[in-house]
Every structure is written in structure tokens, then in C-alpha cells.
């Protein structure tokens, strides 16, 4: 009876018995994440937007901010280096993503079809992903070194002349793209490899019974089934590639000349070489808007075709 009374009392006035922190446990558990989001994402973003409409002068103990409307945006639209760096960023993102997806898909198909030692090969392929980009960039910087780099050494060994990998404006950008391909292809490979291994076997058995060729099976069975994962990989790689900074910064600082200035590098130069934080924020904001618009359109138009049908 005493127990029933206690239960009844609990049901009658739960607020008096359950402590406040337990009633708000859900909020308490997510609170650290919300605080981190506000402090490290929302406030900096809002500050950057505010800066984008301002002229910033650094002063002791802070900065002097003068509202200048859309001047920074107008300046960015007229600035040749902003246009040039946007073009280089687009070229970088398209080229490296395309190559990485093609190579990643090729490797995934190869290993999925029972190549010997695929366990070892898969483990080796993970190494570039886990290496810090700065370490990767330094490693390749020394490999590309024209006088004592291993790449030119090997070329010379087979009778070919040395190449100025990072000094020739016609080559440097592609040489750095190769580094990105080396590091990011395993990412595409891993996702696509996992997707291929999880594909249903029935369509393949049916196709085999029908006597379909390997190419025909790939085109009509594998590729359509892979498209949802492929779509995600393309989106992730495109956005990541568009934000490239570390590799170019470490290897050539955007050179030779400005031939490898990407948008992120331009933002860096404006912010931390010229200390023009307002202008850098405006370029950064425009870049962010472009990426968000692209991502939204991509998800709505491209990914929507492969998403699960809505429940009726």
C-alpha cells in the first residue's frame, strides 16, 4: 500500500520528485554541442558577415570597424585576382574530383573482383588518408625538387630531362593536383568499394545467365546501383576540393607567380598578408554562398533522384 501511495504521489506531482536536471536532461546533453556551435561556428560566421560590410583597421585591444556597405563585395567582383582564383578553384575541384572518382571506382571494381592480396592493398591505400595534408605536401615538395628530388632522378635514370614541377606555371598546378589525387583517391575508393561489396547478387546472377558481357553488366547493373553512393562521394569530394589550401600553401604559396592562387589562398593573403579582414571576409562570404547554393542544388536535383521514395 505504501508503495502504491508513493507511485500515486509520483504521478500526481512529477515535477516535485524528478529533479530539474533530469527533466531537462535532453537539453543538458546537447547543451555542450549547442554552445560549441554558437561559439565556434555561429558567432564567427556572423562576425565575418559583419566584417564583410566593413573596413577594418587593426588597433591595440581590438579593431576599428567602419561600415562601408557593399564596397568590399563590389571590389571583389572587379578584382582580377578574385576572378582568376575562382577559375583556378573551379578547375582544381573539377579535375581532381573527376580523376579521384575514376581512379577510386576503378580500384574498387578491381579489388571487388577478387584480386590477390586485396586485404594488404586496402590497408596500404588507407595510409594516404590518415597522413596530415601538411606532411603529405612537404613529402611531395621534396620529391618534386628539381635538383635532388626523386622524381627527376628517376626521369634522368631513363634518359628523360628534369622537369620544373613546381616552378613552371604550366605544370605546377597539375603537379599539386596529383598530390591531392594521391591523397584523396583512397577516400573515394573506400566508399565505393564498400558500396560494391554490399550490392545484391541477384541482378548479377540474372545477367550472367543472360550471357551479358562485363562491360554491359557494369553499365546496366553496377553503375545504376552505385549511383546513390557515387553521388555522395562526388558531392563530398567537390566541396572538399574547392576548399583546398594546405597543399598549395605549403608547396608553392600559390605560385609560380599567382598561377595557383585558389580562392582560399586569396582570402588568406588578403587577411594575413595585407590584414584587410573586411575584404577577406567579403570574398570568403561570397565563396561560402556559392558553395551552399551549389550544394543545395546538387542535393535537391541530383541526389533526390536516388533517395528512397517517400512513404504515402
Amino acid at each position: 500500500m505504501a508503495s502504491e501511495a508513493a507511485v500515486a504521489e509520483r504521478h500526481a506531482t512529477p515535477a516535485q520528485i524528478v529533479p530539474w536536471w533530469e527533466r531537462n536532461l535532453a537539453w543538458l546533453l546537447v547543451a555542450p554541442m549547442i554552445v560549441m556551435f554558437v561559439v565556434f561556428a555561429l558567432l564567427p560566421s556572423l562576425t565575418a558577415i559583419l566584417f564583410a560590410f566593413s573596413h577594418i583597421k587593426l588597433t591595440r585591444g581590438g579593431m576599428q570597424r567602419t561600415f562601408i556597405g557593399v564596397d568590399n563585395f563590389q571590389r571583389a567582383l572587379e578584382d582580377p585576382i578574385v576572378r582568376q582564383s575562382a577559375g583556378i578553384t573551379l578547375k582544381w575541384a573539377l579535375v581532381v574530383t573527376t580523376v579521384e572518382i575514376l581512379l577510386g571506382l576503378g580500384l574498387a571494381l578491381l579489388l571487388a573482383h577478387g584480386v590477390r592480396g586485396r586485404g594488404v592493398f586496402t590497408s596500404l591505400l588507407i595510409i594516404p588518408i590518415i597522413m596530415p595534408p601538411v606532411a603529405v605536401s612537404l613529402m611531395w615538395f621534396f620529391m618534386y625538387e628539381p635538383n635532388f628530388g626523386v622524381i627527376n632522378y628517376l626521369l634522368n635514370q631513363v634518359g628523360l630531362p628534369s622537369v620544373l614541377w613546381l616552378s613552371d606555371p604550366n605544370i605546377a598546378l597539375y603537379a599539386m593536383m596529383a598530390v591531392d589525387v594521391w591523397q584523396a583517391t583512397p577516400f573515394a575508393f573506400l566508399l565505393l568499394y564498400a558500396a560494391i561489396l554490399s550490392l545484391p547478387r541477384d541482378p548479377y546472377e540474372a545477367a550472367a545467365i543472360d550471357g551479358a558481357s562485363r562491360w554491359h553488366i557494369f553499365r546496366t547493373v553496377t553503375l545504376p546501383l552505385l549511383l546513390p553512393v557515387l553521388g555522395v562521394v562526388v558531392l563530398l569530394r567537390l566541396i572538399d576540393a574547392a576548399r583546398v589550401f594546405d597543399k598549395i600553401f605549403v608547396m608553392t604559396r600559390g605560385g609560380p607567380g599567382s598561377s595557383a592562387y585558389t580562392t582560399t589562398l586569396t582570402v588568406y593573403v588578403e587577411a594575413f598578408n595585407k590584414y584587410d579582414f573586411g575584404y577577406a571576409s567579403a570574398i570568403s562570404f561570397m565563396f561560402q554562398v556559392v558553395l551552399v547554393i551549389f550544394g543545395t542544388i546538387y542535393v535537391r536535383r541530383v541526389m533526390a533522384d536516388y533517395s528512397a521514395p517517400a512513404e504515402s
Binding site: S3, E22, L58, R60, G61, L166, P169, T252
Partner: protein
Amino acid sequence: MGNAANDSTVTSAAILDRRALLKGAAAGAAATAVGAASKRSAFAAPAFLQGASFVLACTSDDAPKIQPLLDDYQKANNVTIQVEQAPYNDIQAKIITNLTQGTGAYDVISMDDPWIPQFAGGDFIMNIGELMDKRGITADPDFVPELLALGDFPPGSGLRGLPWVGNVQVFAWRTDVLKDLGLEAPPKSWDDVLAYAQKITEEKGASGVYGIGLRGVAGNPAATSFLPVLRGYGTDLFDENWEPQLETDAAMQAITTQLALAKVAPPGVESVGHPENGRNMSQGLIAQSADIWPDQLLQIYDPELSKVVGMVDIGAEPAQDGVKPANMTGNWLLGIAEGSANADPALDFILWFTAAEQQKRLLLDQNIPATRISVLEDADAVAKFPFLPGLLAAGRNAVPRPRTEHYNAVEAIYGRYVAEAIAGQISGEEAMTQANKEIRDLMVREGVLD
């Protein structure tokens, strides 16, 4: 009811479990915090036994070189010095961010002399001249006056820093190569330099000796290699009213010469920076360079590092007829962050660190050029580094980069355009015209020009 009771019991048990878990976690966190605190207090010395403590910010190139001196100072004075280091561009950005935000993260700051106008103009650093006045001391006249004056900004307002690295850009040439080709040393004008460079590359390029070395990386490197050429043609980045001078005839001639020189430099000049240019000289790859600094000279004269010991001489930067030749400073100074809570121990340290004894030690042990006359004339030092009298003469004849708080941005602008021209992206004329326009726009935005 029974069901309700059961439900309630289950819920209650779950609540108890969760509570117990959360309480346990909280207790664990508290115990960890208490443990950490007690551990700290167990090992920390009582406050009255602890000496002063301050933070020194410097480049990661300098940090290992000055560490032996810091160790000695800490031991002798019961002082703790924490060194914050990063590469040149990064430490500059970190220092500026910290000083403007008033974080108090740094006490002593090692500053490149072009930073002084921005740091002093923005009151980012203390007027250590005033601190010295309060102690009744003045700057030692043993400092090279021209180098000491770099810390006085705006001129006459008091010292903001004391020089500790006597960097002066010099023109260096290979005596053996010039003699071998019958060329009179040193070349006097930029016309001479170009003619010599073309001849050397033509005759010795195949054997791996090129006529000139310069830097082509965008920003500070390309700018620093170009400025002596520009000045050698009798103009500068600005006139006395801060009007940019890159669209003048002299500037056009200077960029034409620089691009012609780049063509006879070792292949890959587009990605040559400060270390590469010094290495090219010390390894015998280049026979002339107008962009050699003392840290490189010390390598060039080091038998363990250099292939050209005794074959390199230095002098003033070349200049066209009628133009007074001059060298360029690139000194490093030690200052104190405005608002530092450790100004007194910081000043003690700076005075000790820039004293002749330490300067000599840095020179002989770490190849860091001194800023004091007595050290540059010291018999032991001159015996080891015969170029020191020449370096002192260059320092006495040195001119700083334009003393504007916007120099970082100016350098980033013209340094990029010069690099683009060297890389063949644009013509020299376009580079000067566009750089001039951008620099002028900058000076207008900053309220310097109308």
C-alpha cells in the same frame, strides 16, 4: 494498478541507474579535477620561491639558435622564459592577432623592422625608451646608430625595440668567376650587373654556374629582390607624399632589368625563396646576387656548408649613374607588448640579450649577425668572418623599407605582380601599372591619399 506499479518500478530502477551513472560520472570528473589540482599543488613551488616568467615570440628559424642563451639566462636569474615560435608569416599573423586583441599572450616580441611602423603606430608595443628613462639608462652608443634608429618610430618618439639581428641586404659576387671572364669587380650599375649576368650564364651556364640569383616567389621574396633594383634606378615605392612611383620611367626600366636578370638566373627562379637563393650562392650555382643577407653570408663563409669559401665578396647595391648606392635593412628588434604584465623582467632580458657579450656569442656560435660596432669589429669575429667590416659599412649606409604601417599590404601587392611578371603571366609594364594602381587604391582606402 499492478501494471502501473510494475511500470513505475521499472522506470524508477531506470532512473536510479541513470542517476547513479550520472552521479558517478560527476564524482569521477570531480575526483579527476581534485586529483589534478592536488597534483599541481604538490609539485609547484611556493609562490615566493618562483621567479618571474614571461613569453617570448620569435620565428622558428631563430628559436633553436637563441635557446642556449635563454637557458643560461633562466638558470642565472631564476626566470622562466616560454618561447612561442612559428615560421615568418605565421608568427607575424599570430603576433598581430594577439596584440590587437590584447590577449596578453606575449611579453617579449622579436620583430622584423618593416613591422615597426604598424606595431608602433598602432601602439601595439611599449615605448621601451620611456622604460629605460625611468631607470636612468640610455641606449648604448655601441649599437650601429642606423640600426638602432629603426626602433624609433615615429622618429623622435622613443625606442620601441632594440636591434638584435643586424641584417643588411648586400650585393655579393664571385670574385673568381668575374676574374676568370675578365670582368671588372664589382659591377657598379644595373646595366653592368645584367651584362655580367648574361655573359656568365652564356659562358658558364652549361657547367652549372649562372650569372645572377634572385627570388621569384610572390609576396615578400619577389618584392625584396626587386626593391634594390628599383632604388638603383633612382626611384622608390613612394615619393615624399606617399604617392606610388611604380608607373615612372625609372620603375619601368627597373622591372625590365629584373625580368632580363630572371631569364639568366638558374631555372626555377619562380620558386626561389630566401633559403634557396642563399644555398645557390653557397653551392656555387650563382655568381652574383643583390639579395644576399648576413645569415646567408655566414653560411657562404662556413667551410662545412659552402663550396665557395674565400671566393665571394660583398659591397653596396649597384646603382645607375647619378644614383647614390645604398643597402637595405632587414633587422630584427626585441620589443615589449603593450599591456604586458611582465614589462620589467622583459626589459631586463632585452638589455641582457642585446649586450655585446651575448651578441658576440650569437655571432660566433649561431651565425647571427650582430648589431653592435664593437662586435662587428671584434678581432676574433673578423678572423672567422672576414666580411664583417663590409657588413658594418653596409649597415652604416643602409636604408629601411618605406616606413608606413601599410607596408605589409604594399609588399604583398607589388611582390605578387613582380612574381607574376617573372612567371610570364603578365608583362613587366602591366605588373608595374597594376601594382601602382592597387597600391594607390590601398593608400586612398587607408586615408593616406585623397
